[in-house]
């Protein structure tokens, strides 16, 4: 055997490498089948972070399609109802940079709740069909009203209404929603020591 190897070194080297590679390749092939991962579980975790307003402002028909798109590599800064907090949470989850909210998809606005002016409602059910979370109570030719606690403020009911009787009212700050704010960040223009004011004067 050793004689053959010294006689045909190149062939021996090639055969050795192939002999090493083939069983490893077989092992990998077996592992690929054995450890196949079904579905896209990342999309579930991303979906859990998105605000579930199903408004479509991101350009996708709902939060789950956007979650699946993000899992496939889509940008994470397209959700205005989620705002900065959601972008930051997604960035933490996926260990990427947190870009600012993409302006072309909308701005982060104050939270709103839909309100139907009942005097003008004609009972056409168009808004009921549009609401993605079934937050509007009513039936054909019956009064429609918004269940305020379930409304996510997604805006989708406003357009279909033929008599334009739906308003988006901002949530008011009440005793229940008030809370302490972070202290203002430290200003770098503080004149803490005497020479600070002198330096400031010289700079001015």
């Amino acid at each position: 055997m050793m004689a053959w190897v010294t006689d045909y070194p190149l062939l021996a080297a090639l055969l050795a490498l192939v002999g090493l590679g083939a069983p490893f390749g077989a092992l990998l092939g077996f592992a690929a089948v054995r450890f196949r991962a079904e579905g896209n579980p990342i999309a579930d975790e991303i979906n859990a972070i998105l605000p579930q307003t199903q408004c479509g402002q991101c350009g996708f028909p709902g939060c789950r399609p956007y979650a699946e798109a993000i899992a496939g590599g889509e940008a994470i800064n397209k959700c205005p109802p989620g705002g900065e907090a959601t972008i930051q949470a997604l960035a933490d989850l996926l260990d990427v940079e947190a870009p600012p909210l993409d302006a072309e998809h909308g701005e982060e606005k104050v939270k709103t709740v839909a309100y139907i002016r009942e005097d003008e409602c004609i009972g056409c059910t168009k808004c009921i069909q549009a609401c993605p979370v079934d937050a509007i109570l009513g039936a054909a030719k019956q009064m429609h009203t918004v269940i305020a606690s379930e409304c996510t403020g997604c805006d989708l009911c406003v357009e279909p209404c033929p008599v334009d009787c739906i308003d988006m009212l901002p949530l008011e700050e009440s005793l229940q929603t008030w809370h302490w704010q972070l202290p203002a960040p430290r200003s770098n223009n503080l004149e803490i020591i005497a020479t600070d004011s002198v330096t400031a004067e010289r700079a001015a």
Binding site: A16, L20, A31, D95
Partner: protein, 192 residues
């Protein structure tokens, strides 16, 4: 006997730490150390790969290459072995924790090109280790890598919210910190 293996381990983990003293494997060290959970995941993956690759490459060398006199093929065959082990690890990670797989991203297959892994395999040959010694050496190298990676990740997390001056923010202060850690670890010189 126990003393020998202990010395081997201490040497690999602290005295000749692969990242901070021998400066191998710096790419994942800087790239994966942003978050502690990611760093821990990466450490476990690298430990698995290093130990297995160290053992497999030792066996490949002594059972295949040396008997056939093909020692000159060791570099390429070690890379082959490491690539296979990394691929296998990647499949296992993707199945067991898709999030970790997504977060590690490209750094997982990059373990293949981690010079620490190839370095351990080649150093085993240079130092003429037995199989058990090679195994312990690989495991020790991985532990050292894991230790340093986790320490560094913890520090980087605190640096992220600290009052770092503008020019130093981001990777710059990370490099400075790594340099200081390296100085600290060089204090172990002469321990074994």
């Amino acid at each position: 006997m126990l003393a020998d293996y202990s010395i081997l381990l201490i040497g690999a983990i602290l005295v000749n730490n692969f990242v901070l003293v021998q400066f191998l494997g710096l790419c994942p060290f800087m790239g994966v150390s942003n978050k502690l959970e990611t760093a821990m995941g990466m450490s476990m993956a690298t430990t698995f790969v290093l130990t297995l690759a160290s053992a497999c490459s030792h066996l490949t060398y002594h059972l295949l290459l040396q008997p056939l006199g093909l020692e000159y093929l060791r570099t390429i065959s070690f890379i082959l072995v490491i690539a296979v082990v990394v691929q296998f690890t990647e499949m296992v990670v993707r199945k067991s924790s898709p999030l970790l797989h997504r977060v590690l991203g490209v750094y997982l297959p990059l373990i293949t090109t981690n010079c620490a892994v190839l370095g351990v395999a080649l150093l085993n040959i240079n130092k003429d280790h037995s199989f058990m010694q090679a195994l312990f050496y690989g495991f020790g190298a991985a532990l050292g890598f894991a230790l340093v990676l986790i320490l560094f990740a913890a520090m980087r997390e605190r640096l992220a919210v600290a009052d770092v001056p503008e020019p130093f923010r981001g990777p710059a202060i990370g490099m400075v910190t790594a340099g200081l850690m390296s100085l600290a670890f060089m204090g172990f010189a002469g321990l074994v």
